[in-house]
Symmetry: C2
Subunit: 348 residues, 2 copies
DNA sequence: TCTTTTTATAAAAACGTTTTCACATTAAAA
DNA sequence: TTTTAATGTGAAAACGTTTTTATAAAAAGA
């Protein structure tokens, strides 16, 4: 059959020819579908080994109508958060023989475009979309999905989509209550990230919830950084919180992430305030920085790796069972008590 | 042509039928190959829009013999390093309409397996392989490559492979010289990561180079952590460096990354030593932690993002021009002078 | 012994594109 | 005019699998 064998690599046809069987038989052997005589099987397997045949996954993808790839769309690669999410997602994917395709998409436009490239064009079997900003237009833009989509961070239950969330409100509530209940502070502050960020807004609400019980006005005690960063945390503390600190009173600051918390702490320290003695600080995320400072940072640990793992599993589940109702999973953060909140200080 | 149109999505055939042309014409329109009458083109385009047709990338991949995807194999997702590499790679890829598939592979076995899955099975058009440990068997295991492979971190020029490296030896030399030349220290130490790590070994050599000029023995002044971590840095400083510090003398410590540098600093401070006054510290990487501490860390900045970007470009270049000679690119680190080395202190 | 069932295999039809060829037209060159 | 070249289009052949259908041979049931 004078085929031009000078192509890039060995195909199932080559194997079939050498083994003297049909390609269907080779396929059956490769995919272990049975219905093939033991001796034939042995022969084909030996030829496969000898020719070093690897089934072409592009052809498999076309024929099987799936790619064994899951898309992961994130707003950016910064910080520990992405690494942890990736770790969990990859781990779960790997154990199911599935690959991960990562795309960074910032604005609504980009996100819609990314979902289209990954899903509509069939590059992946499903997509994990991290939506940390309030983009209802993203979901409108995406339209009805034909493939599994799980949304992270933002509550999209009303869209009837699979959803994994963190109970940010409860987490911030607990952090704030920790200051009020165990440290008996006179006042508390909240320093969030961007006000369009759903995590920050939920955390601000949790802060309010807690503060109401003290009978004080939450609005005057919460401030927002433009971005989740050390520098912003430092700056805003200097500008907004410092002027409110009075001698002889004790305070607690709930920061929306650990980077901001570091900024808060350094800003206070540079101003000569005793941290955590006079002002305690609790961060969010339990990123590596939280335990890599002299003053170990107390923080609300988010099970990010677990979120990544669950997201992949959800996609795989839905792939296996299309008809399932959309699920909404809400995870809880955990307070990791270290030094910056004031715990571990000798009682005065 | 009673096709079963209850399939998952619109194909080129549907478009052709509705527009009343052949699929070749639709393909020509979609790929903008010309040779199609203006009116026909307009008609087809309108049908495409109306039916919301997206070419199936799996079929394109099979037909075009490429996936427009590049594989990225890294040892882990920890730290800033991965995020930066990803950032650069993604940025360059995005601008060429190419996607990134990320795989984590730790041991030699896993790496070989990953290259096979990504390349031999045709899931990607080329692979970026980060080889930070001494695995000559990985390259043997991979065997001759039919697709572009660029190796990061480890010098594999003798294998005739594309290669992007950092001049770690020079970088460590410069860091060490900084202590000797501008801070006039009495002695210097090197605190590396794992001894099997190629970065660490190269940096240890650079340290030796510098130290030889002082006429002292490098071997007694270099120590190695099992992993690049804060805790190890802390522990080894306490155990190995602290006992060597004498009152009245000035020292410099070159740490193999910023995490270790933090551990060194905190360990010294906890022991009551004045940093950077008596002992200065320089880290590696310029990770975010370096500028998010009260004592800003001086560090050798590695152009990681640039490495990611160049790696993708190299793959793309080779894809465009197969015959090219393998290239070896060596990048330089840059000393970012902040506080921990002792600069910025008032002269005494 | 003659069905019927099972088993092993091959042939052929998808999967949804791109691409090569062939074949008309039409325009340009002579 | 007549030849040559360019243009617009469709048919058909890849691309390398999986999957369905068909068929022959062997085994089982009657």
């Amino acid at each position: 059959m004078e085929k031009q064998t000078e192509t890039e690599s060995i195909t199932i046809h080559d194997v079939a020819e050498v083994a003297g069987v049909s390609i269907s038989t080779v396929s059956r052997v490769v995919n272990d579908l049975g219905r093939v005589a033991p001796e034939t099987k042995r022969k084909v397997e030996s030829v496969i080994r000898r020719l070093n045949f690897h089934p072409n996954s592009r052809a498999q993808a076309l024929s099987r109508k799936r790619t064994d790839t899951i898309g992961l769309i994130v707003p950016d690669f910064e910080g520990q958060y992405f690494a942890m999410l990736m770790e969990g997602a990859h781990q779960e994917a790997q154990s199911h023989g599935v690959h991960i395709m990562v795309v960074k998409a910032k604005g609504a436009e980009e996100k819609i475009e990314a979902v289209s490239r990954l899903c509509s064009q069939g590059r992946t079997d499903g997509v994990i979309l991290m939506l940390s900003d309030l983009y209802s237009d993203v979901l409108d833009g995406i339209g009805p999905m034909t493939k599994p989509l799980v949304v992270l961070d933002q509550d999209v239950y009303s869209w009837r989509l699979d959803n994994i969330l963190l109970d940010n409100r409860l987490a911030a509530f607990e952090a704030t209550r920790h200051f009020m209940d165990v440290h008996n502070v006179d006042d508390v502050f909240f320093l969030g990230g961007s006000e369009t960020n759903v995590d920050t807004t939920a955390r601000a609400m949790g802060f309010s919830d807690a503060v109401k019980k003290m009978g004080i006005d939450a609005a005057q005690r919460q401030f927002f950084c433009r971005v989740y960063s050390y520098d912003e945390g430092y700056r805003l503390t200097e500008k907004d919180i410092l002027p409110l600190i009075e001698q002889g009173k004790r305070y607690g600051v709930v920061a929306a992430n650990d980077d901001i918390a570091c900024g808060v702490i350094d800003s206070l320290m540079d101003a000569g305030i005793y941290v955590p003695g006079q002002v305690g600080v609790i961060g969010f995320d339990d990123s590596s920085i939280a335990s890599q400072r002299r003053l170990k940072i107390s923080t609300m640990k988010i099970p990010t790796k677990e979120i990544g793992r669950m997201a992949v599993r959800m996609i795989l589940d839905r792939l296996a069972n299309k008809a399932k109702e959309p699920a909404k999973i809400v995870l809880k953060a955990e307070l990791i008590v270290r030094q910056s909140c004031g715990c571990g200080l000798k009682k005065n």
